[in-house]
């Protein structure tokens, strides 16, 4: 939308927005310099520079072990949520059976239900079933619940913009339905699939409340250990952890964002 008011006349607006952007962006980045501090204080700017807090991170079983747990859980969640979520989105897109809107609403509903309620519910189910509390499988199942809406919403939008008759053509030429889907439909939806997988991975990697309720000890995720450390003893190792988390959770979406906008521009 273009505007009829000159840019000079709304300079005050741009200044205001600049301040808000500063408030949004700067605090997230302050952990980076603090993580290279040479002292134990969390002051900014740091008194001197060193990499000792990264050495502390990589030298402690508590951090390395939990990073490994987080990565494995996030990977498992990514696979489980994308496979089941794509299957469901495909079915919801292709046919108009009864219950269709009810199923769709159910799959998206974890987005609207407060995380603490989902966490308490999962804790209850695991406590009843037995064998899932304090396990990687339990964490993966729990995280899949909160990752599901992201996969379903992303894939539904992808299917919406895709011409399904191409799959029909492939099937009419003799491909089985599964083969037609895997070789014709899915490759053309690669950006939606990549986005869905990335979101599922990140949702799991970031998730805290479910992890707090259903896991502890050796199956603690990185976010859970970070939370506990933040509450008890704060030191710059946390800044190193935060910087690593910052890189892990913002660089992949950034790359995807740039790649998709670029390819959209080429298509246009």
């Amino acid at each position: 939308m273009e505007s009829h008011v000159s840019h000079r006349n709304r300079l005050w607006l741009y200044v205001l927005v600049g301040l808000v952007v500063f408030y949004l962006v700067a605090p997230a980045l302050i952990v980076v310099p603090v993580s290279f501090s040479s002292t134990t204080s969390l002051s900014f700017p740091p008194a001197g520079w060193s990499t000792r807090w990264y050495e502390a991170f990589f030298g402690q079983e508590k951090w390395i072990g939990s990073l490994w747990v987080s990565l494995r859980v996030a990977f498992g969640t990514m696979i489980l949520a994308t496979v089941t979520g794509i299957a469901a989105s495909y079915a919801l897109h292709m046919s108009g059976f009864r219950l269709r809107s009810a199923i769709r609403a159910t799959l998206v509903s974890p987005l609207a239900v407060p995380a603490i309620l989902i966490a308490v519910g999962i804790f209850f189910v695991f406590a009843r079933l037995g064998g899932l509390l304090n396990t990687l499988h339990g964490l993966i199942l729990g995280h899949t619940v909160v990752a599901m809406p992201f996969v379903v919403l992303t894939m539904s939008a992808g299917f919406e913009s895709y011409d399904m008759s191409q799959e029909m053509v492939a099937r009419s030429l003799g491909a089985t339905r599964f083969k037609a889907f895997m070789t014709v439909t899915l490759p053309q939806l690669k950006f939606s699939v990549a986005t869905a997988m990335l979101l599922a991975f990140l949702v799991s990697f970031d998730e805290l409340i479910i992890s707090l309720m259903v896991s502890s000890g050796p199956v603690s995720t990185l976010s859970r250990v970070t939370f506990a450390t933040l509450r008890d003893d704060v030191d710059p190792t946390l800044a190193a952890v935060s910087t690593l988390m910052l890189v892990m959770t913002s660089v992949p979406p950034l790359i995807l964002h740039i790649v998709t906008t670029r390819s959209k521009r080429e298509d246009a």
């Binding site: 939308m1 949004l24 605090p27 002051s43 079915a91 239900v113 309620l117 519910g121």
Partner: protein, 302 residues
């Protein structure tokens, strides 16, 4: 001359048989498609829908195992609960109001800037949005601490004599929560502003409207659906917040989510926690329903 081949006349019975075959195929297709949704549905239903239903029933069972409203009566009888409710709603209102003040101008500028600049600004909104809430909460702990940046600046400029407590209290909680929630307001608001036709503002100007007047009478009403949807979403998400109040509140600012977690370990039965959970769920559902009704009404008014 004879026709090359004469097809037998199509009877009613043939048509009916054909229809039946088609119906059968459609039903088979529906069944197959339904089966494809089962794995996803099972995960969400077993781990979320069923336990929430169970929480609902548990909330009506008292400590003695009898049916009743004992757990809900706790809301009024225990002073800690009352304080917690006041905290939860006060924080949610304050955060929502601040998000509105900070978010509306950003969404507006996003909508009017040329694509190249708006893309950059969008990135500035998205990067914190992607950053882990835990990382950002820790950042605020560094910035707002006793000898942190903000306090140093305040003392240096002479605004305050000695450092003021900005963290481990309500102030810190609100600052940290606003930071997390602003993008949730900007994104839907921007989506709705982008659909507004810029010619409407020019038309208003051409018939003598001042920019302020045109904004208030034309742009603001047209941006209402996104504004209402975003505002209510922010409010609802604030009600269930856990991480930020737990860390930046320093144990002094209790909101409903923390109380639910504590209740599970505090009481021998699930009842009190379940009652709080049901309350949170009902308030959330009511807000979201109100949002849907309002947005629909505002959109059809045009």
């Amino acid at each position: 001359m004879q026709p090359a081949a004469i097809l037998p006349p199509v009877t009613e019975a043939d048509l009916a048989a054909n229809q039946r075959a088609l119906d059968r195929e459609a039903r088979a297709e529906d069944r197959l498609m339904f089966r494809l949704t089962v794995p996803a549905l099972a995960i969400v239903a077993i781990l979320m829908v069923v336990p929430i239903g169970w929480l609902l029933s548990m909330s009506f069972i008292g400590g003695d195992g009898q049916l009743g409203f004992e757990n809900y009566a706790l809301f009024f009888s225990e002073p800690a609960y009352v304080q917690m409710f006041v905290n939860t709603f006060a924080i949610a209102f304050a955060v929502t109001a601040l998000c509105l003040i900070l978010g509306y101008p950003v969404a507006y500028v996003l909508a009017i800037l040329p694509p190249r600049w708006s893309g950059l600004l969008m990135l500035a909104v998205l990067v914190p949005f992607w950053t882990s809430g835990l990382v950002r909460t820790f950042s605020w702990l560094i910035i707002l601490q006793r000898n942190g940046l903000v306090n140093k600046a305040l003392v240096a400029t002479g605004l305050v004599e000695r450092p003021i407590p900005l963290v481990h209290n309500m102030t810190g909680t609100i600052i940290g929560m606003v930071h997390i929630m602003v993008p949730f307001l900007i994104l839907p608001l921007y989506a709705s502003m982008k659909t507004i036709d810029g010619n409407l503002m020019r038309a208003a100007a051409s018939v003598g409207s001042t920019p302020t007047h045109a904004f208030l009478r034309v742009f603001l009403p047209l941006s209402m659906p996104g504004l209402v949807a975003g505002t209510i979403m922010v409010f609802v998400m604030c009600l269930g917040f856990y991480i930020t109040p737990a860390l930046l509140g320093g144990g002094r600012v209790k909101m409903i989510a923390q109380r639910i977690e504590e209740s599970i370990s505090l009481y021998p039965t699930w009842g009190p926690a379940a009652a709080l959970a049901v309350l949170l769920l009902v308030v959330t559902a009511l807000c979201l329903a109100a949002s849907m009704v309002l947005v629909r009404r505002l959109s059809t008014d045009r």
